[in-house]
Amino acid sequence: MSAPLIWIGIPLILSPFLWIPRRANIIAFLGGIIALFLAVLAWFFPIDTPIRISATLSFKLADSLEILGRQIIISPADQPLLTLIYGLAALWFFGASAAGIARRLVPIGMSIIALLVASLSVQPFLYAALIIQTAILIAIPLLSPPEKKPGRGIIRFLIYQTLAMPFLLFSGWLMAGVESNPGDLELLTQAATLLALGFAFLLAIFPLYTWIPLLMEEASPYAVGFILWLLPSIAFFFALGFLDRYAWLRDFDQLPAVLRSAGVLMIVTGGIWAAFQRHLGRMMGYATVVNIGFSLLALSLFQDYQLSAFFLFMVPQSLAILVWSLSLSVLTLREGSLLFRARQGDMYRYPIIIMGLIFAHFSTLGLPLLAGFPPILATWGGVAEKTLVAALWVAVGVASLLTGAIRTLAVMVMSPKEEEWAINGSLLQNILIGVGIFFILLLGLFPQFMSPLLTKLPFVFSHLTG
């Protein structure tokens, strides 16, 4: 038995079987339980350490698996990362039934996660680009059901994500040369430029994020939310893998400045675009652009904070996207349109759902008391210490996103006619969103609850954490 078989093989094998149950809530429950089991196993079960079962019998979970001459290695240091990925995936799967998309999201999502975990573990690691591309192709039926004609968003998503692959493969090929000949400045320039372009496509850096708002209009908000949580997270881990592996890249003088500039650009443009949206889905799309920006900013501080600031964002951002996209899915299922003019006064018809939406939005922009506040405060402070001008631009982005939140709030409470309070939506939908709000508040007040995970996560990238 090997670790890759458990955390990659089992989910891949089980994912087709998750199509079998006829009831969506059973699929969601099974998917959630499997993901949760894998998360708990990753936290408690030691890899590559013999476990004594009896006096004569012991068991050891091997850390590698060889397939077609390539190795997939999951080391003990990777276990917190697996816990995080499968733990958060469990939350997404449990909520899938309430969002009305369990039948598609759980089986496809499970296989996407397994592939993306494989992309982080494959050796030589350049094969990761190919595995990521496979995961993206599998995501297409999730975002656009076969019976529906694909829209512009999905096509552009596919184009931009596919364009990332050649850039990354070329840069990897050049990097091998840089390692053997570090003095070759021309080669270094080409490798770094291609790498930057590859990740710009993969992480949807400005102006390559146009597919996000388009997709939010076309597809199920919950499915897009899932992709917007998973893909950037894995892309960031992939990028960290590059940084961890190549010393010259890590020590590259301009790297923090480049990451900071990209982060600020994402926050400012995403925030400003969000301020003027009149579609709730597009608003969320731009907010996830801001999320990516903050992660880039946190990454730019790796020389001071190692990866603490970056990992601090993982849970709050995921939680906010989850609650937000679930709220939007419920509204889509029950009301159809997500346009502002159609959603006036919804606070009185769907108080818990709308509160979920509002709290998620405020958490994304870092309103104190909510989950997004501690990581944003820490990162913003770190950036201010480096350059106050960048911090001021971040303030512009945050203020713009706040404008979007205030506009949403105003639309939700300004009903054209007087309305009585009523709690609509199913019990499950209201409970799940209520629980989400509770955790958003809890993590805002006690970010140290994430500490056990945060202390172990950085060791996945040992060179970056010193």
Binding site: T189, L312, P374
Partner: protein, 521 residues
């Protein structure tokens, strides 16, 4: 431990009331439970004095490398005065609730207890982090309470605008902390960089509505007098404490003189409006604005004790007046006597209000003393106008408890003048106190005799956001800019999202690639 005891009384009391409401709605002693909780909390706050300074620390935020400060709370001489004032107003609110038309109302009492708890946490905030957390808790409580209680579309819009102004205020405090950190002095309430003070002032000013002068929420008669009063005063107290905490060294910005002018004019304008107002509850924001401006002036003159004096006077005197919905001869006299506490005369609560090492230009004195006198004269007039209800129609218990609620605030108002904190037993600038008292008497005497001091009701009710007013034009300009930016953003979005957008994107990419390559070289 003592702080935790007080908070436990308040939060557990609130929780118990809500649980009883859910599981045993016929429980007959809810009010007694609420009053007992707040009474014990009030007594425990009194006992803080024995052991000040007291510290209450929440579990530290982790990882420590990212969070040098965690939310800590400190009860010292200054914050105690605010905490005691809030506990007193909370006690007064629940005691006077017995004579309200909505009695019994356990959700409102639970809200009062919880608000007292959050308000006390806010005034005890030892660092900006703790303060912004408490501010947001109060803001969210206010937002949802108001949204639940107002029906009209326009009013809901104002609730949202008021909320956004407060959030922006909190944002300025966070920004002050970032600016101070960037200057190499992590912001706390002991030390701050000289660049950050102005942002802290703006934060407090925005939250109090002083600059740009705005009324947080003018039409609030839909709210109940008790809970509504508690909400307003808690919100004000939580912002006022910042004025007492701003280190004076940080107020060295070249903009400070301009801020002083704006605050002085705001004080004069709001006190004038308060003096002329015909409805006490409608005019409540002017009272808050006027007194808060005086507190702000004290801060600008390096007098944190004076700032606390004005702040506590705002809370206690305001609480006394706004909670008074019934009238009898003795209560009326209590309200009028409470004016002494706000007069800046020796051994009163506000005796330290005008103390400062700074000298002031005479014209400023003219404005500021007039503002104070107008506030006092207005208070006297509003105290006279309290609704005349036949006290005898209430039960004997209500007839005893209700005046006790008002009386306990009156007692605290004078207690703070002589005991318990840094500003007690002060002589202050006694001649200014006398001048203000004389000026107040003159205003009170003049009011019925000069017609312009008695505006017609219709004039008072004219909405302040009319298109023709200057404010309306400013708003119009703002909206024009907003629509222009919206059109611009839509244009760029359309270009990038259209079929030709991919080409534009590729163009950008080539541009970025050349920039990156150039940067590497």
């Amino acid at each position: 431990m003592l702080i935790l005891t007080t908070l436990s009384f308040l939060f557990l009391g609130a929780l118990a009331l809500l649980l009883l409401r859910l599981f045993n709605p016929d429980f007959r002693y809810s009010w007694l439970l609420a009053v007992t909780s707040i009474f014990f909390a009030w007594v425990s706050v009194l006992f803080w004095q024995i052991k000040t300074p007291l510290v209450f620390t929440l579990p530290a935020w982790q990882p420590a490398i990212l969070f040098p400060n965690s939310p800590d709370f400190l009860a010292d001489q200054l914050s105690w005065a605010y905490a005691f004032s809030l506990a007193t107003v909370g006690l007064g609110t629940l005691l006077t609730a017995i004579a309200r038309e909505n009695f019994p109302s356990s959700p409102a009492w639970a809200g009062t207890l919880a608000l007292s708890g959050i308000g006390i946490l806010a005034v005890l905030a030892e660092n900006p982090l703790a303060l912004v957390l408490a501010w947001t808790a109060i803001d969210l409580a206010e937002l949802f309470t108001l949204l639940a209680s107002v029906q009209e579309r326009k009013l809901r819009e104002r609730v949202v605008i008021s909320f956004s102004m407060r959030v922006i205020g909190s944002g300025f405090l966070i920004w002050a902390s970032l600016v101070s950190t960037a200057a190499g002095t992590p912001l706390n309430f002991i030390s701050a960089s000289k660049e950050s003070g102005i942002y802290m002032l703006i934060a407090a000013g925005l939250r109090l509505g002083v600059f740009p002068m705005h009324l947080p929420f003018k039409t609030e008669s839909a709210l109940r007098r008790g809970y509504g009063t508690m909400l307003r005063l808690t919100s004000a107290a939580s912002s006022l404490i910042l004025l007492a905490r701003i280190p004076y060294e940080s107020l060295q910005s070249p903009f400070i003189p301009y801020v002083f002018v704006i605050v002085a004019l705001t004080a004069l304008y709001s006190s004038w409006m308060w003096f002329r107002a015909s409805d006490t509850l409608d005019a409540r924001p002017y009272w808050l604005l006027g007194m808060a401006s005086l507190a702000l002036i004290a801060t600008l003159r390096a007098n944190p004790v004076g700032s606390v004096a004005w702040g506590t006077a705002l809370i206690l005197s305001g609480g006394m007046l706004f909670l008074s919905s019934l009238q009898n001869k003795w209560l009326n006299r209590l309200l009028q006597l409470s004016l002494i506490a706000m007069s800046a005369l020796p051994f009163t609560l506000t005796a330290t209000g005008w103390q400062s090492a700074d000298t002031l230009w005479w014209a400023y004195w003219l404005i500021l003393l007039s503002a104070q006198a107008l506030l006092l004269a207005g208070y006297y007039r509003h105290a006279q106008r309290v609704k005349k209800t036949d006290f005898k129609s209430f039960s004997s218990l209500s007839r005893f408890i209700y005046p006790l609620g008002i009386g306990i605030i009156f007692f605290s108002l004078f207690l703070l003048g002589i005991w318990g904190w840094q500003g007690a037993r002060a002589i202050g600038v006694w001649y200014l106190g006398i001048a203000v008292s004389i000026l107040t008497l003159i205003f009170v005497w003049l009011r019925p005799r000069i017609r312009s001091l008695n505006p017609l009701e219709a004039h008072w009710l004219k909405p302040n956001t009319e298109e023709k007013t200057k404010t309306g034009r400013v708003y119009g300009l703002f909206w024009s800019l907003y629509y222009f930016l919206r059109r611009l953003s839509r244009l760029i979005s359309n270009i990038l999202e259209s079929d030709g957008g991919i080409l534009w994107t590729l163009l950008f990419i080539i541009l970025f690639a050349s920039l990156i390559a150039e940067g590497i070289r």
